[in-house]
Symmetry: none
Subunit: 190 residues, 4 copies
């Protein structure tokens, strides 16, 4: 859809504050009414544009162990956050979600919750498999993983590199492996 492409491109050029429905319509060569007919706000357009333009797919395939599952999930997730345009849009949508309550609910249920659900599958599998550490609680793990990711996007703007993946994976899985080899692994990891 030309409108989604226009929104996706424009937000990269003028930022979220500079993005207007009028601007999207002009770029897309359509009337404003056509946009309002299908989306209630520019944030909704952007949310759909993100889904169309960006491959947001993150696997939660079984890698045999909880540790490997988590490492793979984090790697996939954090890899996505290296596409600057995508990251910017995610930041803008999270911002809008704070300001516009109606959009916030949509964003949480249609986007954020889906991410949590994907990781939840990994945790459920680990519990079934029996290698889920007793601590932290599953909901805390979800908060830590996505919290750390979002915090880097929103607050520190640091790149989310492989070292963080390893560090997080180790932190979340160490209690399951209270053995001496931890210290040995450490050298390589950093």
């Amino acid at each position: 859809m030309a409108i989604l492409v226009a929104a996706f491109e424009l937000v990269g050029e003028v930022g979220y504050a500079g993005l207007t429905v009028e601007g999207i319509a002009n770029r897309a060569g359509c009337g404003k009414q056509t946009i309002y007919r299908w989306w209630p706000s520019k944030a909704h357009v952007l949310l759909e544009a993100l889904a169309v333009k960006a491959d947001l797919y993150v696997t939660n395939a079984d890698h045999g162990s909880y540790t490997d599952d988590v490492r793979a999930f984090l790697g996939d997730t954090f890899r996505l956050s290296r596409q600057q345009r995508v990251v910017d849009i995610l930041r803008f949508l999270m911002a809008e979600a704070q300001i516009n309550e109606e959009f916030g609910e949509l964003f949480r249920s249609a986007f954020l919750q889906r991410r949590r659900d994907a990781l939840q599958v990994v945790l459920d599998r680990a519990r079934t498999r029996g290698d889920l550490p007793p601590r932290p609680a599953a909901s805390t793990i979800l908060d830590i993983v996505f919290g750390t990711l979002w915090y880097r996007l929103l607050a520190t703007r640091q790149p989310t590199g492989d070292d963080l993946v390893e560090d997080l994976t180790a932190t979340l899985t160490q209690a399951a492996q209270p053995r001496a080899d931890i210290a040995i692994d450490m050298g390589d990891q950093q």
Copy 2:
């Protein structure tokens, strides 16, 4: 300052989207120019109003051990986040920081970084004392703590209760208990 009080009250009544410089001026009984003379945007007003109205003090006093220090810091921090008005303003400021690059830089340096610095003091003391676990890395700890907090504020809107404090404390400090030799290796890694 009447302007800060007005902004603080108004944002609670009409939300951030409904907050206008004109509205603040009317409530404060001043002209718009007086606001623009001192702050470049409503977000800047709110940031200062937060500092004036809300007691954002979080201690990082020495409680004798890394575990107790972390528990106390998290308890203080999360307690703050039970003041709904304060939480809302924090959410709005974080949102604005995504949209307005200039404000974003101020918010990160004048607010977010100060919070990190406070926790960093606790970590530094633990390293000196010798009870800092080898993992995760100090910067990762900061990301996890504040990431989890902000994620709950922005994304899940769950209350930040004592159980989460305990769970996080345990996760961040558990590696220190099992075996003392891990700590010995840590010096290189950080």
Copy 3:
């Protein structure tokens, strides 16, 4: 157009200094942008409102002689200037024309010059007919007629009565009738 009516009425109530685009918009029940879309300033609105609301028609029909033509033209013109609302607007527009160069050019070409042209027709006809006095020059006649009118509007604020019409008519036409009956006419005239 509701905007023109609103402007015409408002200027009578609050004067030109008190007239604002915002006020016109409120009275007309429209947005400010709608006014700015069609007129560059409140003066332009008023100029058009004048044309719509006031019947500015002045005849220059042939009355058989230069003297009668001039008397008729002056009578028509001065009669107009007894509508106070119209006079006020004319004064305000002439004032604005001094202050705003761009409006000044419009006012001169679209209003003042048209008045001159109408009288010029009378003079041309007299020249063809052969009863135009040799003096004063045509352009001086125009200056005298409109100068006197405008001076009364702007400076003395005296009513422009029939006596002035007669006096001016006589002054401008006397050279064509260098006869004794002038003295006889004088008595009636004052």
Copy 4:
């Protein structure tokens, strides 16, 4: 006074619309309050600046005959109107007089009426001397002279040259030459 000089210079640089009390204060190196202490508005400042900066003197000395007196008066007056800065300020003041009723009264009584009075002296002398034409009436003569002058300043913006002086002088005095008996009747008429 530095304020008057500043106002006189500034109005030539930025026009009347661009002239502000603040600007005058800055240029004059004084505070705004000092200006408001002595003059109620920028127009009042300008009116006084005009009197100080421009030599507005017009003679009404006795040249022996009504015709010569009128010619001299017109010549003096019109000569003044070749100083562009002075003309501009006169135009602006006349404009302000239309818009600001309070200033209008001052301008009429303190400036316009004084000009009329000066010419009235010439007319009174002519009546005494006996060479005042019966027509037009004295007040009409005043209207014609100043009306024509102001009309050229405000409306046509034509230069006021010597030819106009001659044309006007002739028009206003011609009736006096043809026949002396006209003057005899005049006494009643005025």
